[in-house]
């Protein structure tokens, strides 16, 4: 598995709006961080090629406005919100190769050795420079950050 975290280096309007909405809902927080998480199930031999590919797919990472990092475990204090396991939507298409294998294709780029990709949004709430208590983050998740009809809190194998 190879998991990436992509964060905006310019002001994040969505995070700003989420913080305001959460404050109006009574969630005690004065700082918020939002990142996109991409988890690839990839052959170990193709990890290097995948790193290069991800850095060149602008729908994932644009160096003018994003910071990209490799994630080895979900950091404490974050909640990751992804599609429900039973939701029908797929993050990427597969296309067959000449030999009949199916590769994941993102933005027209075939990703060799990648069997699947999962996406999530990571949220972190802080107050006074400290992460909020887990129950506060859970409350924010239930009230606004996650729609249980098609989303759930996810843990990716990293």
């Amino acid at each position: 598995m190879r998991t990436y975290e992509v964060e905006l280096t310019i002001p994040d309007n969505t995070a700003f709006t989420a913080l305001g909405a959460l404050q109006r809902l009574g969630i005690s927080s004065d700082e918020i961080r939002r990142t996109d998480i991409y988890c690839f199930d990839v052959d170990a031999a193709q990890v290097g090629a995948l790193d290069a590919s991800v850095r060149s797919i602008e729908t994932i990472y644009n160096p003018n406005k994003h910071r990209l990092a490799i994630v080895t475990q979900r950091p404490a204090g974050e909640v990751w919100i992804g599609d429900r396991a039973d939701d029908a939507r797929r993050a990427a298409k597969t296309q067959p190769t000449m030999s009949g294998e199916r590769n994941i294709v993102i933005a027209g780029r075939r990703l060799a050795g990648v069997r699947s990709v999962s996406r999530a949004t990571a949220w972190r709430l802080r107050r006074g420079g400290q992460d909020v208590a887990p129950e506060v983050l859970a409350k924010a998740t239930a009230m606004l950050l996650c729609n249980p009809a098609f989303q759930e809190v996810v843990e990716f194998e990293t």
Binding site: N13, A88, R90, P148, A149, F150
Partner: protein, 276 residues
């Protein structure tokens, strides 16, 4: 005296004008209402419409932030007293985020959603929708012919009905689907669904049938000059004023007018031709 319909305008709403024109055309009195309007002022309307657009830029999820706006507290209260509430596209997304539709769970704990399209892309395409079941299921559809088909514009990136399997079973079993995607002849098929929506669902309602969430836009094809049906176009050819008469998607708004007329002893409003 006309029935007053509140048309709620959030920051980012963009379909209020055509919604107002369609409501006026069926004899109703639409009033634009902004989020800072007080609760007591909002209580005085006969019905409420949440029009389409991108309220709050769809930040977090479409309709998620608007669903928690204080104006929605008044809408929820009105819906719970039995008043009619309609959501169109973004408005529909808001109604599902509030849990008013399908209304099978707690408020603001959604049990179903109009989630991202299965393609992952925004899509704008002319569709047709038909009544999903018995017109008598809801006062808002009681005036429809059983086999009524009308055109609408599906213009969204998040219009796919999504819910856990047990909830979809309950939605189907309890007849919450108000409208289905179909072809122009009324045939429901996967090919007619523009977004992968479960149950071919274009519109969903609550148990009482007074709250209805419709994803495609009937107000964007509510006048003769907007129609694509060759027969309608031919009939209006050479008659400029006829081109300005209501047609197509106006059927949906006549449903609201009919429902309001049936609710009180006031005379049934006539559909007034022309543009407001």
């Amino acid at each position: 005296m006309s029935r007053r319909v509140a048309v709620i305008v959030f920051p980012g709403t963009n379909s209020e004008e055509e919604t107002v024109r369609a409501l006026s055309a069926v004899g109703l009195e639409p009033i634009l209402v902004y989020p800072r309007t007080g609760r007591s002022a909002l209580a005085g309307f006969d019905a409420y419409v949440l029009p389409g657009g991108f309220a709050h830029e769809d930040r977090i999820r479409a309709g998620a932030v608007a669903a928690h706006d204080p104006v929605m507290d008044a809408i929820i209260e009105a819906a719970q007293t039995g008043k009619f509430v309609i959501g169109l596209c973004n408005g529909a997304q808001m109604l599902l985020e509030t849990g008013l539709v399908p209304g099978t769970g707690a408020l603001r704990r959604p049990t179903a959603a109009f989630a991202p399209n299965s393609s992952g892309r925004f899509r704008s395409v002319l569709v047709h929708v038909k009544l999903a079941g018995d017109p008598a299921r809801s006062p808002l559809t009681a005036g429809f012919e059983p086999d009524a088909v009308f055109p609408a514009w599906a213009s969204h990136g998040e219009g796919r009905l999504a819910a856990p399997a047990q909830e979809l079973d309950r939605i189907r079993r309890d007849a919450h689907v108000a409208f289905e995607y179909c072809d122009r002849n009324g045939r429901v098929s996967a090919a007619a669904v523009p977004n992968g929506s479960a149950l071919a669902c274009a519109g969903l309602m609550n148990r009482a049938g007074n709250v209805l969430a419709l994803m495609p836009h009937p107000e964007r094809i509510a006048w003769t000059f907007q129609q694509r049906d060759p027969a309608i176009i031919a009939a209006a050819h050479g008659a400029a004023m006829r081109a300005l008469t209501p047609a197509g998607g106006i059927v949906f708004f006549r449903g609201l007018a009919h429902a309001l007329a049936e609710r009180s002893p006031r005379p049934q409003p006539q559909c007034t031709g022309g543009v407001r």
